[in-house]
Symmetry: C2
Subunit: 186 residues, 2 copies
């Protein structure tokens, strides 16, 4: 039996459906919304609707963006002949934070995982192939999928697929450099 | 510098403004919304707008409710001549969960707290007084404010205010029954 009125109950359920929000947090959030000023709530709702309406996938790299092509693909400062292949939008952010990479990206939106029924056709591999075939300028592809089984399998699959095209395919290095791992400094 | 596009940034900020949501959780929630189906997001937004639009305060007890009077004040099964005074809407839920109380409520929406600039006029004390003056049937008022300094002060204030009206004023018992506290069982 519920002790809340139907509208509050619905609101709590709505918050509960979000990831990492439990029942108690959902109640706290629901009451926060109820007590919040009208403008605050409108702003929150607008941020959701705008994000859903404005955001699209960049038709070149499949990163999520307000514009198509995305700012990275459109930038003349980035090396357009270098592509870093990542699994997820969040990986682009992680790479950008390092300030080390000056090329462009290709977001796969997943990794090959037969256990979960995700084959090569479910992720943006076809699109990567087409992009490279259409742009003979592209010289190098760095595969930066996760160092887990699925990521490694995806990297292997892509590198075999791209080899006949004559582009240089490299795998990003993972882990701690060997000298530091053993605590040897010169 | 932000690595997210403006729409995502706004969405993350929106989530971050909610209580108990940190930056990382806000990012996770924002991406969840972006990946969620359109219907799911619409349902979530509707639950917020409906709650804000439909919910009102019961004009008798100031509990939050879809209807006015609220289901408790409107119920013939509840003892309308017994009022339990609580600080917050959540306290009503807590009391209801015990299934012990068969009267009605009066929600103060706070407690007297001079440190925070909250005097008797800022909470629903006037409304409680008026309610009792208008209903000579009301026999007993149980004050169930929190056992903290503010709650105690509020309880004291209300009991002094109500004494001249001839209603029985009681304070709800708090803490562990004394026998059990010392581990004595018969």
């Amino acid at each position: 039996m519920s002790y809340y009125s139907p509208s509050i109950e619905k609101l709590i359920e709505g918050f509960e459906r979000l990831p990492s929000i439990g029942h108690k947090t959902a109640i706290r959030l629901a009451f926060h919304i109820l007590n919040a000023r009208e403008e605050e709530v409108t702003e929150f709702i607008n941020s959701i609707t705008n994000a859903k309406a404005n955001l699209k996938y960049c038709s070149k790299c499949y990163n999520i963006s307000d514009t198509d092509p995305c700012p990275i693909c459109a930038s003349p400062k980035r090396e357009q002949n270098l592509i870093c292949v990542v699994e997820d939008v969040k990986d682009v952010i992680a790479m950008e934070r390092t300030h080390e990479f000056k090329g462009t990206y290709h977001v796969l939106h997943g990794s090959i995982s037969p256990m979960n029924g995700i084959g090569p056709d479910e992720i943006k591999i076809k699109e990567l192939l087409a992009r490279i075939q259409q742009n003979p300028d592209i010289k190098e592809v760095v595969i930066a999928t996760n160092p887990k089984v699925e990521g490694e399998a995806t990297a292997m699959y892509i590198s075999k697929l791209l080899k006949p095209l004559g582009v240089k395919v490299t795998r990003i290095a993972h882990g701690i450099p060997i000298r530091r791992r053993f605590g040897i400094y010169r």
